[in-house]
Symmetry: C2
Subunit: 344 residues, 2 copies
DNA sequence: CTGAAAGCGCTTACAG
DNA sequence: CTGAAAGCGCTTACAG
């Protein structure tokens, strides 16, 4: 039914070896132009397409990248993650690699080892790994295949983990955001994390917030709540915050999606942004500037991250085994929600 | 390095056949419990994981589903598509299938045939295929593998295409949305499509809008513009609309993301929603009710669609070859943007 | 209840 | 410049 390389060889009047050499463009094979043309014509005539499983089995490489997402629920609600998927997909395609999507289950665990051993993928990009996964990831990287942790701080290298990482510096950026609020005169600055702090990125942003308060001597005003990815959970987290006795004049919100919910909760409470409460958030998703109050936020570059992750993985696949950290610079985008200006 | 089934067989003191039977749970093999246990223990002890390529080559099935996305750019900006990816991923996982992501390139073309012939996937879910792709999809389905077109109207069956489809009825739903505006007394109802009308869903929504106008005898007021997926493109499309001489008191916007841009364009133009201009849009993305004016919109159920697509594909994979259309009901969610009520 | 052996469709030393 | 042949690691009739 589907033609195999043997049919192509027969039609072209050569051996399967030659067919393989021509189709895979093997340099050192010294195929004559005449032969090459014959093979190419035969393959085209038969509509030949190599069987991927056979190729993979024989060559030991699957030509596919595995993208591991945290709890897949993130994708339902968080625009940031979608952009990561899109850019990784795009770049993989550009590099002639296929893309396999995996996600961790409810408990956040994925059998990385099984995936690695199955030979289904040549390398792994793991998005926002949990702190508890670092040991296993390191072992996967050492034993089986290259691995890039997306959205991880470079500390993985500092602490002896061997795999590559890419990410913006959540800690520094969070400080940047909070310092902006401090500079505007705010003293009582609350924090709403965008998810559970088992996620490294959530945790780092919280630490950055706290560190900024410490340096300014404002920790006595520190109060915080955690949302759970959706705008709705942000709404609820903000309500919990409002019920506390401690007051605040500004909130550093863990991401933009959650900030949408926070804005609504504040409005529903009769509070105006930025007049009564100033907000700075994180991500600069495409809708951030279309929010009820255009959001002042930390702009990250997920597309660049995604592309870079793929590039780093391919580097390692080529045998360039140095684990590196690629840092993506971020920037504070000032819009209306912090009350410091009206640029949009 | 990685153990193979032969090592497992050796350790368990059986043949590879037996190992394969036990691990694949082959019913009719009549493996004794004692043997089964021995094999399982040996496999566990060695940390054995079957090689996927070998399995696929030998069995003729890859146990993976291919998910084909339209222009990958959609994912950058459209929350709807992300939910589709998430649900398909989730359901695939639940069904023990792997998920391969493919996307069409800039010109919107993908070599479906190559993908099908490579044997990399057992079946295909194609999201929002372009009208021009139907012939090829039909052929792929006939020649190579089951295929489900996601977001397609059932007309594919009516017109003789053989593959299965799933989707809400864009035409009917658009009419529903527009009729709601008509019922509220609007006569001059403009339309802003969310993308180019080469996409079947964009086209159907436009037709639904126009059909509603026809039935109400309002086509003389019909004006339209098309955005290009992002909120920003919605902003621009709305500006173009505002520059026309024709006036309007309501807009049916092709999706929520674009509606965010439309809202901003109207505000910047000094128009209030819903007082001056009423808006109904489409999708009910998670942020729709957190928009500057909570959006009245058609709620679709992408998660259900995604899950159903996978289920339909698996049915066909099991040999149940009937092409069917699964229709997902939608509903109009009334919020503030149409001015008819204040439910949220 | 279990095993020997063929076969899936490629790649890749190796030999010439 | 090209080909015969082994091998990748499984599954699956077939035989017993």
């Amino acid at each position: 039914m589907k033609p195999t390389s043997i049919e192509v060889a027969r039609l072209a009047g050569v051996s399967r070896t030659t067919v393989s050499f021509v189709l895979n463009n093997v340099k050192k094979s010294g195929i004559s132009d005449a032969t090459r043309t014959k093979v190419l014509n035969a393959a085209a005539e038969l509509g030949y397409e190599p069987n991927a499983a056979a190729q993979s089995l024989a060559s030991g490489s699957s030509a596919t990248i595995g993208l591991v997402l945290p709890d897949i629920q993130h994708l339902y609600v968080d625009a940031f993650l979608a952009r990561v998927v899109a850019s990784v997909s795009e770049e993989s395609r550009a590099q002639n690699m296929k893309l396999l999507i995996e996600s961790t289950d409810g408990e956040g665990s994925l059998n990385y080892r099984r995936l690695a051993k199955s030979g289904r993928v040549d390398g792994l990009i793991v998005v926002n790994p949990r702190e508890g996964d670092y040991d296993e990831l390191s072992e996967i990287n050492r034993l089986f295949m290259p691995l890039v942790a997306f959205g991880s701080p470079s500390r993985s290298i500092a602490t002896g983990y061997e795999f590559s990482t890419t990410g913006s510096n959540n800690f520094i950026n969070a400080k940047l955001a909070v310092n902006h609020l401090i500079k505007l005169g705010h003293k009582k600055i609350a924090h709403i994390g965008f998810a559970s702090s088992v996620f490294a990125s959530v945790h780092s942003r919280e630490k950055g917030w706290f560190s900024a308060l410490e340096e300014a001597g404002l920790v006595q005003y520190a109060i915080k709540e955690f949302a759970n990815l959706s705008a709705d959970s942000g709404y609820q987290a903000c309500q919990r915050l409002l019920q506390k006795k401690a007051s605040f004049s500004a909130i550093f919100v863990g991401n933009d999606t959650v900030a949408f919910g926070v804005l609504k909760a504040l409005f529903d409470h009769g509070l105006r942004v930025p007049e009564n409460i100033a907000i700075v958030s994180y991500d600069d998703i495409p809708l951030a500037r279309f929010a009820p109050v255009p959001l002042t936020t930390i702009r990250t570059f997920p597309e660049e991250h995604g592309q870079k992750s793929v590039a780093m993985l391919l580097e390692q696949l080529k045998g360039n085994v140095i684990a590196t950290h690629h840092k993506i610079e971020s920037q504070l985008v000032i819009r209306n929600s912090c009350g410091s200006g009206l640029k949009s």
